[in-house]
């Protein structure tokens, strides 16, 4: 405002601040969302030049139509067992989320994050990868672990930060890690995993390996510099990596317009980097599977990265610390026009004659029982509230491979302190 010149002939500027269509009290309105018909988007050859995908970045790869039929060139033509397995994993994620959310509400741990409505982007994609490909998830892809049969009890022990926690109580709940399951250690710092995945994939290429990496990031987090580094390095070195953007349209209270979503799609970023890009109905497990497989084939053929926008909706709050009803209309998620990934895959299986309501109900009950049993077993090993992981010496371990003198001294001091507390 200082030294502002007089320029009567120039109109005054003003700042544009994007605003979502609806705030609390407003009616939910998704009529602006363009939804191409299932099966209407063409499927380039996975070996085609990246530019052939660029016409697709504003549309939406969809396979499941309104009647639950799989249609069009992207239909991955999965057998019924695989479809049932994907359905089962998604259902399990949802049951698990519900139990753990409740456990947090009961004070048994400090924090929890659900992935409700976003189960397909983790589960279906994982089934399209090889078991030994490495994933670099955010905190909302617990579905990857479930799809790879990570023990539920161990997941819960992590959430409870109890004796059974493989991360020794060090990490916030849901920040899982398991190399054996190809699940990279989750960072509290958004977006950092994205270029790390590129580096891992570069490593695989340098080593002449055949494994690829698959990274996840949220719509909001694409604004971080790490996103740019990932896309730049992945393109330049043709890293064998899948760069997934989970566009659930919210970043805590902030809608995707603040990340640039008003201007174009997130898939369109691929055009700017000259890499392959796809935009996919993230609530359509078959479309997610097909796009992931397309990108995986491309990566394995040494043709480099694919940026995949998985268009979905964050049905619940950001985390247990969040109440979305103060910044968006209540029950916005229920009105999401692309529906619920579990319901859609279920309908497909039913339409195929490979599933029915009774089996579905029975499976739900079985999973619920499985999760409750796991929870009991996990709680026997403690919760954050009642009996958390407590092992003073371990606090100083693994800062480095070996304890340097100053950590040894501090370890001894911490033990003396614990002694004094007991006294």
């Amino acid at each position: 405002m200082n030294d502002r010149p007089e320029r009567p002939n120039r109109p005054a500027l003003s700042l544009h601040v994007p605003e979502p269509g609806a705030r609390p009290g407003d009616p939910v309105d998704f009529s602006h969302i363009a939804i191409p018909a299932a099966g209407s988007v063409r499927r380039p050859d996975p070996h085609a030049p990246a530019s052939e995908t660029h016409a697709l970045v504003a549309t939406l790869v969809r396979v499941l139509d309104e009647e639950g039929r799989a249609v069009g060139p992207w239909d991955p033509k999965l057998d019924a067992d695989t479809l049932r397995r994907i359905l089962r994993d998604m259902m399990l994620v949802r049951v698990y989320d519900d139990r753990m959310y409740r456990a947090q509400r009961q004070g048994k741990t400090s924090f929890y994050m659900k992935s409700t409505g976003e189960e397909a982007v983790a589960v279906a994609a994982t089934h399209a990868l090889d078991r030994d490909d490495m994933t670099f998830p955010t905190y909302r892809q617990q579905g990857i672990l479930i799809a790879r049969d990570y023990p539920l009890v161990t997941m819960m022990c992590q959430v409870y930060s109890n004796k059974g926690d493989p991360l020794k109580g060090r990490q916030l709940p849901i920040m899982y890690a398991s190399k054996a399951h190809g699940f990279f250690t989750i960072s509290g710092n958004l977006a950092t995993q994205y270029p790390q995945a590129v580096g891992w994939a570069m490593g695989s290429a340098i080593a002449g390996d055949s494994r690829i990496a698959s990274a996840y990031i949220g719509d909001g987090s694409t604004a971080e510099g790490d996103f740019h580094a990932a896309c730049t390095f992945a393109g330049v070195y043709r890293a064998p990596v899948i760069l997934n953007v989970v566009n659930n349209q919210w970043a805590i209270s902030t809608f995707s317009g603040i990340a640039g979503g008003e201007l174009t799609t997130f898939a369109a970023r691929a055009v700017g980097y000259g890499i392959a890009g796809l935009r996919v109905d993230g609530n359509d497990a078959l479309a997610v599977y097909a796009a992931t497989r397309w990108a995986a084939d491309r990566a394995r053929a040494n043709l480099g990265p694919t940026l995949i926008e998985l268009f979905t909706y964050r049905v619940e709050g950001h985390s247990t610390s969040d109440d979305p009803s103060v910044y968006r209309p209540q029950n916005a998620g229920a009105a999401w026009p692309l529906g619920d990934p579990v319901e859609r895959l279920k309908r497909h299986l039913v339409a195929l004659g490979e599933w029915d309501e009774a089996r579905h109900q029975a499976q739900h009950e079985a999973l619920d029982a499985e999760v409750r049993a796991a929870q009991k077993e996990a709680e026997r090993q403690g919760t954050l509230q009642s009996d958390p992981y407590q092992d003073i010496p371990s606090m100083f371990e693994e800062v480095f491979a070996e304890l340097p003198w100053h950590l040894k001294e501090q370890q001894a001091q911490a033990l003396a302190e614990a002694e004094a507390k007991r006294a």
Binding site: N162, N189, S253, T254, I258, S321, M395, L407, Q410
Partner: protein
């Protein structure tokens, strides 16, 4: 005068400045319609419009950079970094740019801007919602670093920071947003309402940057602290019946060297107390300063009581947190030495 907790006091500082100075602007993640994850910017967008307070993309680098640009333009931006643990992507813009602008342009540009951030542990935030990175900023020439310990100071220091002609990093100990936590985590939480510093003037006032406060007078030993640790220090002195003088530094750069020297000369003993990791923490600077300047008054080495040189572990929060037991042991040793 109103009774305010720290969040309300910080919110009030924003409102006072938004009223007085149309060049003040707030930006950050979730600070707009929602009012910030800790509600510090609540009501600003509603009352002053989206051009004065708005949500930012999740890019701490971008947030700091555009704040630099806005300050270069002539505004007074106040940027919120959602957690201090997430300030690092913006580190280059703070260190290489905000801190250097006045110097490198020989005064042609100056940057009246504030970077606020909730900081410190004690809320089971795990290793990425608990950090205290103040030492990293103290080492950077051209940045002032401020850490309030109570509502009255929080408001007065924040207004002073906003009015300061240079960039200020302003860390808000989130554990004491709602009450003066003394480190006894097993006891029920006390709200600010019972604390005298919760009496906060409604209008404009400042607490000067670079001036410490004597939080407790004492004769036996000086405790240098800031933020949450001030309360832990007071409670520890009380619990152990030690006649400690507790200095609340309030700013660490510039640090109030006079207050420090005066106190240590009087007591002859000094314990430096912070939550951050120990090695090369700001406590090292304090210990170095005290022994340089009060060497012949010291009857014992300056002791440091700090967080451990490890990440902040989720389930062992209270074994990490430098609470009354750790401080008490150090005080006793310092008094014996």
């Amino acid at each position: 005068m109103s009774v305010m907790n720290m969040i309300q006091a910080l919110n009030s500082a924003h409102k006072v400045m938004f009223e007085r100075d149309p060049t003040t602007v707030v930006l950050g993640e979730d600070v707009g319609y929602f009012g910030g994850v800790f509600r510090v910017t609540e009501g600003l967008q509603r009352d002053y419009g989206k051009q004065r307070c708005f949500d930012a993309p999740i890019s701490e680098n971008g947030i700091v950079a555009v704040a630099v640009g806005m300050a270069a333009y002539g505004l007074k931006p106040i940027a919120e970094i959602q957690f201090a643990d997430y300030i690092y992507p913006g580190f280059d813009q703070i260190v290489s740019e905000a801190a250097r602008m006045r110097y490198r342009s020989a005064g042609d540009w100056s940057l009246p801007m504030v970077i606020r951030s909730p900081y410190g542990g004690g809320i089971f935030g795990g290793q990425t919602h608990s950090q205290s990175p103040e030492a990293l900023f103290a080492h950077i020439a051209g940045i002032k670093t401020v850490i309030p310990s109570n509502p009255y100071d929080a408001k007065g220091l924040l207004i002073a920071a906003i009015e300061d002609p240079d960039p200020v990093v302003f860390f808000e100990p989130k554990r004491i947003y709602n009450g003066p936590f003394d480190g006894y985590y097993e006891r029920p939480v006390t709200p600010w309402a019972k604390h005298p510093a919760a009496e906060v003037p409604d209008g404009h006032y400042t607490v000067p940057l670079g001036k410490a406060a004597v939080a407790r007078e004492g004769e036996e030993v000086t405790i240098l602290a800031y933020g949450t640790m001030v309360h832990v220090a007071l409670a520890t002195a009380e619990a152990n019946g030690i006649d400690a003088e507790v200095i609340d530094l309030r700013s660490i750069v510039p640090v109030d060297i006079e207050a420090i020297e005066t106190s240590v000369r009087k007591t002859g003993r000094c314990v430096v107390f912070h939550e951050a990791t120990r090695t090369a923490g700001f406590g090292a600077e304090l210990a170095a300063l005290v022994q340089e300047r009060c060497f012949y008054h010291l009857e014992a080495p300056v002791a440091r009581v700090t967080g451990w040189d490890t990440p902040y572990p989720h389930s062992m929060e209270w074994a990490y947190f430098p609470g009354p037991v750790r401080l008490g042991l150090a005080l006793k040793k310092t008094l014996e030495d």
